[in-house]
Symmetry: C3
Subunit: 152 residues, 3 copies
């Protein structure tokens, strides 16, 4: 099943592509790679999951934020490609969690992004990943993901 | 206008390529990608913008540091390529800000790098980006950027 | 000398490929790039170098952890490729150190990874790199590295 068909089957409507938070663009193609900008847990221009994970919000809530980051990244990818069916493979996810000092559970948070990619792309959604906790994210977001795709 | 011509028009002289801060090299080419090492706000072997953003220096000062990081990255790229005119496109900027805990303004800092790339490369300077705050950077630098280019 | 021969000469036996710490895979190939997942200082399923560098462990110990991260990454690469002799070049190392606030010595820690790569791959092991300190890593690891290779 194609990624666009799977999104419909899952009943997922992608958000509008988010506005860039600075002097950059949402996606750049280089050869067969589509490098997406980092995305935040935003909807309708507002951060929905803000603050420090482990103090202001818990891991399941932050994982829901990571899922929304992934949806925003896919919205950017669709805007760049015309259709997500042009995605051949998810290559890499860089996951950044706005965690309390010493936060050890960035993988559990970033799984919210990774699992969405697996739902949408199936086998082609299996990606390499690095997840870390950082001490601050744009607009005080709880999580940020940066995704690289291979395209046809 | 070519990137080298634009640099001349802007009156920008690139710094000498910075020495590596460890067991790595300043640039590696893989296919049509030129992956640059992370660069710091250094000139003549000294860090010019040090400390925590939001405590030891403010956002405009850190953004000036990010601009200098970009100039050092371009010095590395020119040393690897012979001329910046071999750059086809700026693909990606990873921006790391040495911010106070919870620092939310990494995009404003990293804009100092991004805007320099737009000045030098014009349309080809438009890049994807991820910007985060981290709790420490090499030599106590206030900012570090890591840039990936597409080359001809 | 080939990378596999060099490993034998150095008397280095790679660890078993580590289990993924989340919903991702250890390696993805895209064109001539092999993008490896972030790896931790683990052996036999246990983190061997945990805690904050600069408080719970010192730089040489953390550098030994970074070397083990690199060995785990190479174990993943060998599992994906069949043999490390398929590696044409090490392209990039992203190094994350779980440092105390303001930690300035991430390069010294990540050198433990970089030097191992130079030992194994020689000239082809020379890579670009970015090293930062973050406020937390998976399973409270002291260090994490994410490596990208060019393959034949």
């Amino acid at each position: 099943m194609s990624a666009e068909a799977r999104l419909r089957e899952l009943g997922i409507a992608l958000p509008s592509p988010p506005a860039a938070a600075g002097a950059y663009v949402p996606a750049v193609r280089a050869g067969n790679l589509l490098v997406l900008a980092g995305t935040l847990p935003m909807r309708d221009g507002k951060v929905t999951h803000a603050g420090k994970v482990g103090r202001d919000l818990d891991i399941p809530s932050a994982a829901a934020g990571a899922r929304l980051c992934a949806l925003n990244a896919l919205a950017n990818a669709r805007a760049a490609l015309g259709s997500l069916d042009a995605v051949r493979r998810v290559v890499m996810v860089q996951g950044f969690v706005n965690g309390v000092d010493g936060f050890p559970d960035s993988p559990k948070v970033i799984n919210g992004c990774s699992e969405l990619l697996l739902e949408v792309f199936g086998e082609a959604g299996r990606h390499a990943r690095a997840a870390v906790s950082v001490n601050g994210l744009p607009l005080n977001s709880a999580v940020e993901v940066q995704i690289t795709l291979e395209v046809g």
